[in-house]
């Protein structure tokens, strides 16, 4: 009796669909998550700085943006961008539409994390930077941001892991990412339980790897051994 003959059908199905699913993950899910996270962090930093330091009208615009994004479902936002905007004459392909949606989303959520991290750095640190002649911009870049980064890494890691899972929503706007690939295979095999569990496992692998990376990043940023206040 050959070895293949004893493999149960469900395992056989899992093995044959593993590579198509993983490939969809590597080609669409991972790049979508990484790109929108990096761009979103840029948007988030800008939004946080504008809300804290810019003149009131500008800060209000930034606050409005955060309010809209945090107050509406991500899925609805994606639908507005991909299915809605064409009615206004703005046609965006599925992948860039998803990228825009996720970037705006990460931007809004991370801006709150970054804002909290920036305000957590004591006034005394600003004053120390000013006292040696720094401008506000120099103080922010050299003194406040590096310390705020350390505070922000754990919650931003959470944002990133959530994002990786949320990219499955892009399936709804026709991006052929991991979850949509699973749906397609289900449409042919009629095996939803096996395929969706397998998709879940691949998401679990991705987020586990990311959690490990996040832990390393925390160690890297924590290398100066804590803040003076804690050491005393």
């Amino acid at each position: 009796m050959s070895k293949e003959a004893v493999l149960p059908d469900w395992l056989q199905l899992m093995l044959t669909s593993f590579w198509p699913l993983l490939r969809a993950g590597l080609v669409f899910t991972v790049p979508l998550a990484i790109l929108s996270f990096v761009l979103g962090l840029g948007v988030g930093l800008l939004t946080a700085v504008v809300r804290l330091f810019a003149p009131k009208p500008l800060a209000a615009v930034a606050g409005f943006y955060v309010w809209i994004i945090r107050g509406t479902p991500l899925l609805v936002q994606l639908f507005v961008i991909f299915y809605g905007l064409p009615s206004a004459g703005i046609l965006i392909d599925a992948f860039p539409a998803a990228l825009i949606g996720f970037t705006l989303n990460v931007g809004a959520y991370s801006s709150e994390v970054i804002r909290a991290a920036l305000t957590s750095i004591s006034r005394g640190q600003w004053e120390a930077a000013y006292s040696i002649g720094m401008t506000t911009r120099q103080a922010l870049r050299r003194t406040i941001l590096p310390q705020a980064t350390r505070v922000a890494v754990p919650p931003l890691g959470n944002t990133f892991i959530s994002l990786v899972k949320d990219t499955s929503l892009a399936a709804a706007i026709t991006v052929p990412e991991l979850f949509q690939q699973a749906q397609r295979i289900v449409a042919v095999t009629y095996e939803p339980l096996i395929l969706y569990i397998e998709a879940a496992l691949i998401y679990l692998i991705f987020s586990s790897i990311l959690t490990t990376l996040q832990a390393r990043l925390e160690v890297r940023f924590g290398r100066h051994g804590g803040f003076m206040e804690r050491a005393r």
Binding site: I132, T135, Q138, T143, F227, R230
Partner: protein, 247 residues
């Protein structure tokens, strides 16, 4: 010429400085004493514009800035003045994400755009001066309070300020650690640094200062040589305060 004239400052309607004038003798230590809330710290912070005076004039060397009501000083004026002063804080405020030597280099590299190697050389010389050169590569969090304050002194000295402002430099330290900081400040004073110092520490004021100003409720009540202020004060309020110190 280092002079504060007619400095007024209020916080939300509460007048903290009522037109204070003070000349700081160059190459000597001037001590500001007075009860908590008398305005010593605020006066000090007006000298490097961490607080913007509502009225008055701040004059440090060739920089002379006049303040009146609404007009805020321009950023470039603020920077010009700040770059002639250094400040030592009660709770040190070293940059925790930078090593000791990087803390001292920071003003030279970021503000004065020195090449790193040259800045490091000066930083090491200053750390040597405050007895901290062995800890050059340490993180601030690993140092004792006294060591942190000595590094903070080196950091303040790095840009060669015309005036060093000390805001309660020993108040966060227990007596033993305070002593090592006082020793460093004493050496600085002997070497001719110009300092303006707000302090509760009687020993510090007495042993370092050549001029003492007693501040109460936002006014200078009495000023003079330390022996006169501590030994034979004339104003009743000064007498009461000095007696409360147990001098």
């Amino acid at each position: 010429m280092i002079r504060l004239s007619g400095i007024e400052k209020s916080f939300s309607g509460n007048l903290v400085l009522k037109g204070v004038s003070l000349a700081v003798q160059e190459g000597a230590v001037t001590a500001l004493i007075g009860p908590s809330g008398s305005g010593k710290s605020t006066l000090l912070r007006c000298a490097n514009l961490l607080e913007t005076p509502d009225a008055g004039t701040v004059e440090i060397g060739d920089v002379r800035l006049e303040f009146s009501g609404k007009r805020r000083p321009s950023q470039s004026d603020v920077l010009r003045l700040r770059r002639r002063t250094g400040m030592i804080f009660q709770n040190f405020q070293l940059f925790p994400h930078q090593r000791v030597v990087e803390n001292v280099m920071e003003a030279l590299v970021t503000v004065q755009k020195w090449p790193k190697a040259k800045a490091r050389e000066r930083a090491m010389a200053l750390l040597d001066q405050v007895g901290m050169s062995e800890k050059a590569e340490a993180w601030p969090a690993t140092l004792s309070g006294g060591q942190q304050q000595r590094v903070a002194i080196a950091r303040a000295l790095a840009p060669s300020p015309a005036l060093i402002l000390c805001d309660e430099p020993t108040s966060a330290l227990d007596p033993e650690l305070a002593e090592e900081v006082v020793d460093v400040l004493r050496t600085l004073a002997k070497d001719g640094a110009t300092m303006l110092m707000a302090t509760h520490d009687l020993r510090l004021a007495r042993s370092l200062a050549s001029h003492v100003a007693f501040l109460e409720a936002g006014e200078i009540v009495e000023e003079g040589a330390p022996d006169a202020i501590f030994g034979a004060p004339t104003e009743p309020r000064t007498i009461r305060f000095v007696r409360s110190l147990g001098a």
